[in-house]
């Protein structure tokens, strides 16, 4: 069972992601802000983190940088999830160490495909 952490301050988005990915293959954890995301990432070591950029307090970019700079959590695959669609935001996410980038609004099917893709490439 893969562990998957979704961090977003909008509970509607968390609920959407959960509903999309819910299956026997994934165990889904939720964090509603950056601090909680860091805490859950450290304690549960998820395989994948879907991380919203604009969150109150610790932002998604800061969470990403912090996790990637810590050898214990650097292995977590991070997909940035955000309503910001400009190239500069994409670059900022990449600079922070995120593996991929997903733009809101998104299609749940596309998200599912993306997540499956990440895990299958992990296996190979």
């Amino acid at each position: 069972v893969r562990k998957l952490l979704i961090a977003d301050d909008e509970d509607g988005i968390r609920s959407l992601v959960r509903m999309t990915l819910e299956s026997d293959a994934y165990e889904i954890l939720e964090a509603s802000d950056g601090a909680e995301a860091l805490e859950l990432a450290r304690t549960h070591r998820p395989d994948l983190l879907l991380l919203d950029v604009m969150m109150p307090g610790v932002t998604g970019l800061e969470v990403c940088r912090t996790l990637k700079s810590d050898p214990a959590t650097a292995g977590i695959t991070i997909v940035m999830l955000t309503a910001r669609a400009q190239d500069s935001d994409r670059e900022a996410g990449q600079a922070a160490g995120a593996e991929s980038y997903f733009t809101k609004p998104f299609s749940p099917v596309a998200l599912l495909r993306k997540v499956d893709e990440i895990f299958s490439s992990d296996l190979s």
Binding site: D9, E10, G12, S15, S32, D33, M54, K104, P105, P108
Partner: protein, 709 residues
């Protein structure tokens, strides 16, 4: 644009005029050589007297020209001296020397007699003189006291080149002296002047006798002309004793440096302590007298000199006015303006530019523009000004303009000011490039607005995308998957909530747009605030403990009922949103002076001091999880505040984090003295277009209602 001085053409006109005067004088001297020789030994004294008279008048007229010039310069310096702008003052002194090159050095003393500016051929000597104290100098004390230019009575003969010194006070509007302009003119120039009038005294003087002469002495017998080294005083001679009592006379007597008696005529120069002495050997057998011819010529020379003095003074004033006109335009515009020559050397700057860059005109004039005003591009990288601007202007005579908000200027204190920059060619009469004018504008405010606009678009797009994501995502799931009825219901309710959220956001954005563009109309009428509050709380009270209480009688207020409902709804909705389900919300009404206050109090999450400060700003949402979780556009309180103020009311908030918040607003009561507005048939008063919220804030509370009444 004072640093530039007068237009060159003007200087040329004045100089040409003066040259004409001097030439005429020389011509007169030359013609005298051909004057009829006439031996009239009896008339020698009389002839000498006439010569002395002409010489004295010529010297006087010449002095008048210079006095006029010094006075005009002193007058033109008023403004610069008043503001203590010594660098610009130096430009006027320079001009004075251009008009009359006989002035070797021009100096400006301040109110205390300290040298503030000095202009001569020798900049090093000038620099040394700055700061010298001349408070005890006659040129300072006498000019400060007198209303007209002063010719110093004392001459420093010890100096390498003895000078006569003209000085005039710079006076403020009230007439008190703020400084003194001093012109130093070598005495040798006086000699040149008298030589130009030199008569052809006989070369046939008896052996051992020197021929006749015309010289100027001080009243102490110090010879000023005709000697190598002036300075020796010989007060004992009869001629000076006589000159002390009367302004003219003839005598037979001794003179300094002359061993035998001479035929002497003397004449004092008006308004000076100078005496013109004309003499010839007493034993002369033949004396050349050119009297008759000279009388005519002398009068002519005097006329020209006096006319020159008058015209020079008038010309100077006219040019000064022209300069004031052209400089006042650039001095008055609020944007920085810099003129340069065709190679980019700064020729003048206006006060706005001095403020913008923190550099005074004296510090930048004559230096390359790009060295004194370093322009920075994106990322604060230096901009190649020559290539970006100057080359384009020089090559094609077109205006070179900066674009966007990437350009900034580094000021003297190291501060970086966002600016726009425009460089335009200044074309001469023949269409050739004579210089450039640069306009540098502080665009800090525009840049801020631009950034606010970008941030607004970014915020709005984020606010739109989030509910849109949910609508798209949940609807796609519903269409593609078979889900349990509970899941389907959750998805549908999420879609519904997101649609409502989008609708609310659009409503709020439209309200903000209407408020800010001034299209929102206040339909004010007397209304019962209590009834409106009661109506608002009904839907809230179904789920929560929300109550309305009033202290004392609540007089009707003058307000727009729809707006009041929106205001109270927003505040109650916030109170409910940001407190737990069991916490009460209390609405209290009470009359306070000539207004009614409404307070909405909750025991919710409260606000920190910092959050309170930003509370009523557009898109201001506390950066906190518990705030984010409840959702909102960040526009509600901004709209609420605008609506309250639009009706002449006031809104404020008190809060403590973790304890609760109290939001209050007041609306003005209907004035009892006024008959009250006449309701239109539909029960409302006439429509009044409302200016934007920003303008509205300036209006004292209640003024709208008085206008209605």
């Amino acid at each position: 644009m004072k640093a530039r001085g007068l237009p060159r053409s003007g200087v040329r006109r004045v100089t040409a005029l003066l040259a004409l005067v001097v030439l005429t004088a020389f011509a007169a001297g030359a013609m005298n050589l051909y004057a009829t020789r006439k031996q009239l030994s009896d008339e020698v004294l009389g002839s000498n007297a006439t010569t002395a008279k002409i010489a004295a008048e010529t010297i006087f007229a010449n002095l008048e020209v210079q006095r006029n010039l010094v006075a005009a310069v002193a007058q033109s310096l008023r403004e610069n001296v008043e503001s203590g702008d010594w660098s610009r003052s130096a430009a006027d002194l320079r001009f004075m020397r251009e008009v009359d090159p006989r002035i070797e050095r021009a100096v400006l003393l301040d109110r205390q007699g300290i040298v503030r500016a000095s202009v001569s051929e020798d900049p090093d000597a000038d620099a040394e003189r700055i700061g010298d104290n001349q408070a005890r100098c006659e040129c300072f004390t006498a000019a400060s006291a007198a209303n007209k230019p002063h010719l110093s009575r004392t001459i420093n003969f010890a100096a390498l080149v003895p000078h006569m010194v003209l000085s005039a006070a710079v006076r403020d509007a009230a007439g008190s002296a703020m400084g003194v302009v001093v012109a130093e003119i070598p005495i040798s120039n006086l000699g040149l002047l008298t030589e130009s009038l030199e008569l052809d005294f006989s070369t046939r003087a008896p052996a051992g006798e020197s021929s006749g002469s015309l010289n100027v002495f001080t009243d102490q017998g110090v010879q000023l002309t005709g000697v190598q080294r002036p300075g020796q005083s010989s007060p004992g001679y009869e001629v000076f004793r006589r000159a002390a009592r009367t302004d003219r006379g003839t005598l037979r007597g001794a003179l300094p440096g002359k061993p035998r008696d001479r035929l002497v005529a003397f004449r004092t120069v008006p308004e000076t302590n100078w005496v013109v002495v004309v003499e010839q050997p007493a034993s002369a057998a033949s004396v050349v007298a050119t009297t008759r011819r000279l009388v005519g010529l002398g009068a002519f020379i005097n006329l020209i000199l006096i006319a020159g003095a008058v015209i020079a003074g008038r010309l100077f004033r006219e040019l000064e006015q022209e300069r004031v006109r052209s400089s006042s335009i650039l001095d008055s515009i609020p944007d920085g303006a810099v003129t340069t020559d065709a190679t980019g050397l700064v020729t003048s700057v206006n006060p706005a530019m001095e403020r913008l860059a923190g550099l005074l005109s004296g510090e930048v004039v004559g230096r390359p523009f790009d060295k004194v005003y370093p322009l920075l591009g994106p990322g604060n990288q230096p901009v190649d000004w020559d290539r970006e601007f100057l080359d384009k202007v020089v090559r094609s005579n077109i205006v070179a303009t900066s674009r966007g908000y990437d350009l900034s200027l580094r000021s003297r204190d190291g501060g970086i000011v966002p600016v726009s920059h425009m460089l335009a060619p200044i074309l001469g009469r023949g269409g050739d490039l004579v210089g450039c004018v640069a306009v540098v504008r502080d665009v800090a405010y525009e840049k801020e607005l631009d950034q606010m606009k970008s941030s607004l678009i970014s915020t709005v797009s984020h606010e739109l995308r989030t509910p849109l994501t949910m609508i798209q995502g949940f609807s796609e799931l519903l269409l593609q998957r078979s889900m349990s009825p509970e899941r389907e219901r959750e998805a549908l309710s999420r879609i519904n909530a997101s649609s409502e959220r989008l609708a609310r956001l659009i409503d709020d954005l439209l309200s903000v747009s209407r408020i800010e563009s001034g299209r929102l109309v206040v339909r004010a009428a007397p209304m019962d605030l209590r009834a409106a509050a009661d109506e608002v709380v009904i839907p809230f009270a179904e789920k929560r403990d929300v109550t309305v209480t009033a202290t004392g009688a609540i007089p009707p207020v003058m307000a727009d009922r729809d707006m009041v409902v929106q205001i109270v709804t927003n505040l109650v909705s916030n109170a409910v949103k940001y407190s737990t389900a069991d916490a009460p919300v209390r609405i209290r009404l009470g009359a306070a002076g000539d207004s009614v206050e409404v307070t909405v109090e909750d025991r919710g999450i409260g606000l920190s001091r910092e959050e309170l400060g930003k509370l009523f700003q557009k898109f201001a949402r506390a950066d906190r999880k518990e705030v984010r979780e409840v959702g909102g556009t960040g526009l509600g309180l901004y709209i609420t505040k605008s609506l309250v103020e639009m009706q002449g009311g006031r809104i404020w908030a008190e809060s403590e984090r973790g304890v609760g918040s109290r939001f209050s607003f007041s609306l003005p009561v209907v004035k009892p003295a006024a008959a009250g507005p006449q309701p239109t048939p539909d029960g409302r008063t006439s429509r009044i277009p409302v200016p934007s919220a920003a303008e509205q804030v300036e209006r004292p509370p209640g003024s709208r209602q008085r206008r209605d009444a």
